[in-house]
């Protein structure tokens, strides 16, 4: 094995700290992926994944939140079983659910930009409730918009068919997740001081 002979170029302490928190949040997203609550009359169960996409944007901010999501997708693509149902592989990213997965980094970045008003992080507990609600609703629309659009493209469905199978059944579950995310933020137990 060829050893790198150059001097050691240490990673900045602040970067290490944020990077590790982003990694653990991506891991948590993979850890909750198999937790699925079946929904009657729906082809897909509720999973907690989208709640952690919300939390990535809220807690880590737009840059590290998006990085965390890109890391989650990369890990799944190379074979770590982090996608729903312990699945993995590049094929999942190009499969019928690929649109939802590709939207995660954008959704986390969008929430981060709304709530943190830029790339500097603030305590999400101090953000006004309408701002948090708008950010979460916009991110949900983005996730389901990209998910349904991709599904319609890949399975050659028309827009309404794709929305019927890929978005409508999830609306009750998503409202619950938005409520849960707001309760977590307002509890003040996730101060960004933990993720300096």
């Amino acid at each position: 094995m060829e050893t790198d002979q150059r001097g050691v170029e240490l990673v900045d302490d602040a970067v290490v700290h944020r990077f590790v928190h982003a990694v653990l949040l991506a891991t948590l997203l993979g850890a909750v992926a198999p937790v699925a609550i079946p929904l009657p009359f729906s082809p897909a169960p509720i999973t907690l994944q989208v709640l952690f996409v919300f939390l990535a944007g809220l807690v880590l901010g737009p840059v590290w939140g998006a990085f965390s999501m890109v890391l989650y997708l990369t890990a799944g693509a190379v074979g770590v079983p982090v996608f729903a149902g312990f699945n993995a592989g590049l094929g999942v990213l190009f499969g019928q659910s690929g649109g939802y997965l590709w939207s995660y980094p954008f959704a986390a970045a969008l929430i981060g930009l709304f709530v943190h008003r830029g790339t500097d992080r603030r305590d999400p507990a101090n953000a006004s409730l309408p701002v948090v609600v708008t950010a979460l609703v916009a991110a949900t629309i983005l996730i389901y918009g990209m998910g349904s659009a991709y599904m319609s493209l890949i399975l050659e469905l028309n827009a309404w068919e794709a929305i019927t199978v890929g978005a409508l059944p999830f609306i009750p579950g998503e409202l619950l997740k938005i409520a849960a995310a707001i309760a977590i933020v307002r509890s003040g137990r996730l101060s960004p001081n933990r993720v300096r």
Partner: protein, 239 residues
């Protein structure tokens, strides 16, 4: 669940970058070629790729079972129309073929998952994506792989503790919120300790990576990937 299994198949001997190229080429070809002849050829190719990784097609379909529900529901939904003639067979058939092509893409990626170690994939990421983003992604994948079972156990512990305290009778959003909040606090406690440990061990931008090199079997794999990508380009770009 289909994960890496040590073996000595052709797919195991390939460089992870060749396998990535073949998967991308196959996905691009499967999503653009819609004729029955092309689908027949892609099916043969998918079976060949699975054989090269010693994965039985049945095992691969079982691994992709979560996708099957939506893939089988989509053609029915496409076929049903509101108003006469009520059933549009052509639309249903088109979507059924599209669903089948998506299934082939999922099956081919199981061959790569079974034959590629995560540490090799990590090295491939760091060699393919230049600079610091590639380095962080590579290390991140390695750490994620290490911590996944730990955090799964954490989540299970939280759910067991909730069940023991009748937490399962609470409203759905409270349950989801409790799992998320406790899961995140535990994960961030671990992150604090891991961050300290990494800094104590001189976490650097220029570590020594596991060796990776292209060998003779990679040549046909890369040629296959290039052929598939070219066939896609020829279909999508009018000459």
């Amino acid at each position: 669940m289909l994960t890496y299994v040590p073996d000595d198949t052709l797919a195991h001997r390939l460089d992870p970058r060749s396998k990535l190229a073949v998967q991308l080429g196959f996905a691009a070809a499967a999503l653009t070629h819609t004729s029955p002849r092309a689908i027949f050829a892609l099916t043969g190719l998918a079976i060949g790729i699975l054989a090269a990784a010693n994965v039985s097609p049945t095992r691969a379909v079982v691994a992709a079972r979560y996708a099957l529900l939506i893939l089988s529901l989509a053609p029915l939904l496409a076929a049903v129309t509101l108003g006469p003639p009520w059933i549009d067979t052509d639309a249903g058939l088109t979507t059924a073929l599209a669903s089948y092509r998506v299934l082939l893409v999922l099956l081919v990626s199981t061959a790569a998952v079974r034959s590629t170690r995560v540490r090799d994939s990590r090295a491939a990421i760091q060699r393919t994506i230049p600079g610091r983003p590639g380095h962080l992604l590579g290390i991140g994948v390695a750490l994620l792989f290490r911590f996944l079972p730990v955090l799964r156990t954490d989540i299970q512990t939280i759910r067991d503790a909730m069940a023991a305290r009748l937490g399962t009778q609470r409203r759905a959003h409270e349950r989801a919120g409790t799992i998320a909040l406790l899961g995140l606090s535990r994960a961030f406690d671990r992150a604090d300790r891991l961050s300290l440990a990494l800094r104590a061990r001189c976490f650097a931008w220029n570590p020594t990576l596991p060796p990776l090199s292209f060998s003779r079997p990679d040549i046909p794999a890369l040629l296959l990937a290039i052929t598939l990508l070219c066939s896609t380009l020829l279909t999508t770009i009018p000459l």
